[in-house]
């Protein structure tokens, strides 16, 4: 047995033991029926990715279907890989299988290193039954201007989609990734994903993720990020339309000195959806800085739990949490759980949290500038949702603004 199959067997062994291990947070999902269906059906329904209807759906989650403004892309539908490429020398866009097969020497240091394979039944399922996932490798010193886009799309009814993604930036590299995830036909099935990101010394990775789901879907992404000296990780997550249930809790370890992380999320709760969206930053390195910003918008009978945790370990490290909720209905529930933990005496950790409904005075103020009640409300909602994410390219910022405009006008 070569080292790949040996290690893989060890991971699978651990995964099997964790198959019944529930997640700490979020409603528990019975994966059995999905796994059974996954094992039974070998063929996929056929689909034409160039179908205008499908292209419109892709655009709704920020995908540049023309690809002109992109440095590369990766498309996966259900568990089938449709296409992947990189236009930039020094940047590889691969599938997980491809990367394991041909780049094991590189990958072995990152595969299940930022997240334990036996974290819970969802990570275990990805290891045992998952297929696909993108692997992006960026060489030292390569700075990529235009983003790479990755699309994980769900098509077949009650499908199990479980990709394992890995992004590795060498030293002094820069990469922007935009990920759009949505269903193409039926909003049903389970999306589990594992994403392990590694940001080398002096490198910068920005990750913009836009999700548009439907109520029969259950989403459990698992993300782990490690950042080295002077590295920077910026992530912006937008849930435009919610699934039935979603639970995620990305963990960023700022291992290096002077490293930075900024994690923001905007989530819109509709119908009876239940979302538990968290983030954790571990300030390990000296002078590391972490910030978590979240905006939760609750309509109908939706429930959103916004968790955030910053742990200060490194000397002179700093962290800040800003957590805001806006209720648009009497039956929606928003819960904010900010948590700060300082484990040395010279860290500086702060947080601000607020939940409320739209202040009448703000509406009347805008009406006094000539807007109708509805217009005023939508201006306030849009403002609430528009977090200014610094450090991402202008094209992405405009794209985010567009999707937020469309969504807020419908609320």
């Amino acid at each position: 047995m070569n080292t790949l199959s040996k290690s893989r067997e060890l991971f699978k062994e651990r995964a099997r033991k964790a198959l019944t291990k529930k997640s700490t947070y979020g409603p528990d999902i019975d994966l059995e029926p999905y796994i059974r269906k996954h094992l039974e059906s070998s063929s996929l329904e056929t689909l034409n990715i160039r179908d205008p209807k499908i292209q419109t759906r892709l655009e709704s989650v920020g995908v540049d279907v023309s690809e002109t403004g992109r440095s590369g892309s990766y498309y996966q539908v259900d568990w089938k890989i449709i296409s992947y490429y990189s236009r930039i020398p020094g940047v590889k866009v691969l599938t997980l299988e491809d990367a394991l097969e041909n780049y094991w020497d590189v990958i072995k240091d990152y595969f299940w290193k930022a997240i334990p394979v036996d974290r819970d039944k969802y990570t275990a399922t990805v290891e045992l039954y998952g297929r696909g996932g993108y692997v992006i490798l960026v060489d030292d010193g390569v700075k990529v201007e235009n983003p790479i886009q990755t699309c994980l799309l769900m098509y077949t009814r009650n499908i199990l989609q479980a990709p394992h993604n890995i992004i590795v930036l060498g030293d002094n590299a820069e990469l922007h990734v935009i990920t759009g995830c949505t269903f193409l036909k039926e909003p049903s099935g389970i999306h589990l994903s594992v994403s392990e990101f590694y940001v080398g010394k002096g490198s910068k990775l920005t990750f913009t993720m836009i999700h548009g789901w439907g109520l029969q879907q259950h989403i459990r992404p698992r993300t782990g990020v490690i950042v080295e000296d002077e590295g920077e990780f910026i992530s912006h997550y937008i849930v435009l339309s919610p699934p039935g249930t979603l639970q995620t809790y990305p963990t960023v370890k700022l291992r290096g000195r002077d490293s930075k992380a900024y994690i923001s999320s905007v989530s819109v709760g509709l119908n009876t959806s239940i979302m538990d969206i968290g983030a954790e930053i571990i300030l390990e390195g000296r002078r590391s800085i972490g910030e978590i910003v979240s905006r939760s918008l609750g309509r109908d009978k939706s429930t959103i739990t916004a968790r955030s945790r910053i742990v200060g370990l490194g000397r002179e490290s700093k962290g800040h949490i800003e957590c805001m909720g806006l209720l648009l209905s009497d039956s929606a529930v928003i819960e904010a759980v900010p948590q700060l933990s300082a484990q040395t005496d010279d860290v500086e950790l702060t947080h601000e949290a607020s939940i409320g409904r739209i202040a009448e005075d703000e509406i009347y103020y805008l009406m006094s500038k000539g807007f109708t009640y509805e217009e005023a409300k939508s201006i306030i909602v849009r403002g609430f949702m528009s977090i200014e994410v610094k450090g991402i390219p202008k094209t992405l910022r405009n794209m985010i603004e567009n999707v937020i405009n469309i969504v807020s006008s419908k609320l």
């Binding site: 202040a359 009448e360 009347y364 103020y365 009406m367 006094s368 500038k369 201006i379 403002g383």
Partner: protein
């Protein structure tokens, strides 16, 4: 011709009667001062004129250029040409001053020269550095007032209601705002109602007439200069006694 006629207006807020039989008028192009101590009902009056639904008209009328607007919704009054600069505007997260102004003008069908006009007025009022900030978030008192005045100027109103433009503003900035009000508001033919309890702005803007409101009623009406002088000298309390006003 009157730009504004407030006729025998009685107004309540959350069930509490605040204004009692208030009558006041402004001729076209006139500058009128509304003076009065804290809590006398000045803001209530302008909020009622602009149509803030929180303020309920129990009786009386508001007439704008001959048209009874007492029952018109707020945004309709604004589109007819009434503008209110708030005493204390709320902050609105995520909404930039520039974007709000552009949106506000587009809504009125204006598309040309928005940017150049905005730059011009913003530089007159020294608020260029605020255009890309979230509205009123972290603004100083004086900055808030200047941005409110900017929004009013950009609306090119027929009737401008300026609620305490001068309170909490330093001397230089009161002079600056006074100059802008003279040249660009009064100078453009707008009728203007200026609320003030310190009368500071009256040093820079020449008013045609003044009203004094006390405890929800108009207690005095007359020559602006005389009234301002008396109030500055004696204060509202003494002024009431000396003139034999009844509270």
């Amino acid at each position: 011709m009157y730009a504004l006629e407030v006729v025998d207006l009685t107004v309540s807020v959350s069930g509490k009667r605040i204004l009692k039989n208030v009558s006041l008028n402004i001729k076209c192009g006139e500058v009128v001062l509304l003076l009065g101590p804290n809590g006398s009902g000045k803001s209530t009056l302008v909020q009622t004129i602009i149509g803030n639904p929180k303020y309920r008209v129990e009786s009386g009328k508001i007439i704008f250029y001959g048209e009874d607007i007492t029952k018109l919704p707020m945004e309709a009054r604004v589109l007819k040409g009434i503008s209110l600069a708030y005493q204390i505007p709320p902050k609105i997260r995520g909404v930039k001053v520039r974007d709000l102004i552009v949106h506000m003008l587009r809504k009125r069908g204006k598309t040309k020269n928005i940017v150049s006009e905005l730059e011009e007025y913003a530089s007159l009022l020294k608020v260029q550095h605020l255009l890309d900030r979230e509205i009123n978030v972290g603004f100083s008192g004086g900055e808030m007032k200047r941005v409110e005045l900017l929004l009013t100027l950009m609306q090119k109103p027929k009737l401008a209601l300026l609620d305490e433009v001068d309170s909490g503003v330093d001397v230089e900035n009161i002079a600056l705002m006074g100059k802008v009000i003279n040249e660009h508001l009064v100078g453009s033919g707008a009728s203007t109602l200026i609320i003030t309890h310190t009368a500071q702005i009256a040093k820079y803007v020449k008013a045609d007439k003044a009203y004094v409101m006390i405890n929800g009623s108009i207690k005095c009406e007359g020559d602006a200069e005389k009234i301002v002088k008396t109030i500055l000298q004696y204060g509202f309390e003494k002024c009431i006694k000396c003139l034999g006003w009844k509270l």
